[in-house]
């Protein structure tokens, strides 16, 4: 048995470069955007702003009003601005953690860990992009619109919601030069059959090189089917319960198709963005 010489702590090797960081940041604002969602803007250091669209953070939600969230909560990056030092999240209040988030006021501090996971890709041959999303998924896909604009790609955003007032990020998508189509449950235009007609129509008229979507298994199945039929690739951002968010605990696995076999992958590490064709609804 070798005797190991004690290493002096606090002297990281020169080569060491953290990829993400745990930092306490100041809340700049945290306001409702509609009856279900809130927008949180944080003043963040450069160390956590080397983000890409589709990545996420793990937020240490405050203990408040009888709620005692313990594990961090994963949230997609809704917006990031390295020059201005700002980081944004768009979230829906659903339980203990997000209720705690909603209690934060300007000037409060929040501990965040990130950026985490693999974001969306946008290879050169993907010129005409179509994103289809619903609910919180729109938060995840929002930063893609900026990236598409920056890279000079055309973008059609189909925003699905229960009712027109709940359709989020429409302005943001328009400001990025995207064509926005709002579909709703109220008028039936968000039903899979209606969406299929809408999407097929776009493919026939303008062509679509790639899809981006999020969360919903209904949308995933629809896009897998349309994608397979027309040979259109795409990516989906997925969700799963998490503990560590870094890849250590294996809490967040989902099943994926790899050729003839089904394999587990970690949503926090290999994902949260995966090829649409490999995801299992």
């Amino acid at each position: 048995m070798s005797m190991v010489t004690p290493l002096g702590h606090g002297s990281p090797r020169d080569s060491f470069l953290p990829r993400c960081a745990e930092v306490s940041v100041r809340v700049e604002r945290n306001d409702p955007v509609n009856e279900e969602y809130r927008l949180m803007v944080l003043r963040a250091p450069d160390a956590v702003l080397n983000c890409s669209p589709g990545q996420f953070f793990q937020l240490l939600c405050p203990v408040a009003g009888g709620d005692t969230p313990f594990l961090r909560r994963p949230m997609s990056i809704y917006g990031y601005d390295r020059a201005a030092g700002l980081l944004q999240f768009l979230y829906k209040v659903t339980g203990a953690g997000t209720r705690g988030l909603a209690t934060l006021r300007e000037g409060d501090m929040l501990n965040v860990l990130g950026p985490l996971g693999q974001g969306f890709s946008m290879p050169n041959e993907w010129r005409r992009l179509m994103l289809v999303a619903r609910g919180v998924g729109l938060a995840t896909l929002a930063p893609l619109a900026k990236e598409a604009q920056r890279l000079g790609r055309s973008l059609t955003a189909i925003c699905s919601a229960r009712s027109p007032e709940l359709a989020m990020s429409v302005e943001l998508f328009r400001d990025c030069g995207a064509e926005v189509i709002v579909v709703t449950d109220t008028d039936g235009s968000s039903a899979p059959e209606a969406l299929r007609i809408l999407i097929e129509d776009r493919i026939a008229r303008d062509g679509v090189d790639a899809f981006y979507t999020c969360g919903s298994s209904r949308l995933l199945r629809l896009l897998q089917d349309i994608g397979a039929r027309h040979g259109i690739p795409g990516e989906i951002a997925m969700e799963q319960q998490m503990a560590c968010g870094l890849g250590m605990c294996q809490a967040c696995v989902r099943s994926f198709r790899e050729g003839d076999t089904i394999r587990h992958r970690r949503v926090c590490r290999e994902g949260p963005v995966f090829p649409i064709a490999e995801a299992l609804a």
């Binding site: 048995m1 004690p6 290493l7 702590h9 606090g10 319960q241 294996q250 809490a251």
Partner: protein, 311 residues
Amino acid sequence: MTDLSTRIGELRLANPIMPASGTFTEDLADVFDLSILGAHVLKTFTAEPRTGNPTPRVCDLASGMMNSIGIPSKGLDHFLTRALPFWARYDVPLVVSISANSSDEFARLAEAVTVPGIAVIEANISCPNVEADGRAFAVHADSTERVVRGLRSATDLPLWVKLSPNTGEPVEVARAAESAGADALVVANTVLGLAIDVSTRKPRLGNVMGGVSGPAIKPIALRMAYQAARSTSIPVIGCGGIATLEDMLEYLIAGCAAVQVGTATFQSPTTMQRLLAELEAWMMANGIRSIAEIIGTLQEAGDGVLSVDVM
């Protein structure tokens, strides 16, 4: 000079802080330099590949969490050819945690991982034993004795045996592990629990029951670590609910020679880095020059007032 090093049998660790099995992978290197740790303890693996339990695999508790990850394993070959080479870049003792369904399988796996690059074998005997109706080895002294004896004869590497709090005979189990040849005890694993979502009336975990960890279990694991340290003469490594300097000091004072940190890393991935800095600062502030000055220094109970015999 403050000396943070500690001895676990023949092995000297640079400091008493290491991760708990199942809560640590190379992915933590995204956050801090893993070379500062006292040891690297890897996730338990089995000889054959396994997929682990259904999701949801974790749930939130008020003061901790519960998991039913199970032991997803890529198997022995993957471990030896893919995982092991990665850790060679660190000059930190590597502790591999193994598990198996029977004493024989356990011994065979221990033999197979007795290879250069591995400093310690940690036996996770909290897993179900197929020879005992699926009861965990670590529940009884006799099953503990049998499996540890098999392990002892299969390897000459230091053997750490990780005990379970889900036993009614913790002292007997600890002694059985010692007499069967364990070099150290890791105390303890998770506490078996259950959580129910009352709106759906479903268990919160895909596997129904799971293991509770985090601050919620600290008093239980600390009590067991104390019992193990008092009733055996091999080093005890404390584990369960450690998140703060005070938690860590409690384990050392109770008799532990080192500690493992698990769930706290999920809440704050920099926990071990912070604990190390805080331990050193605390020792300097209190004029303590070595870890040995802390280990097993629990004082007699009582408030100093003489008690009056009322019976």
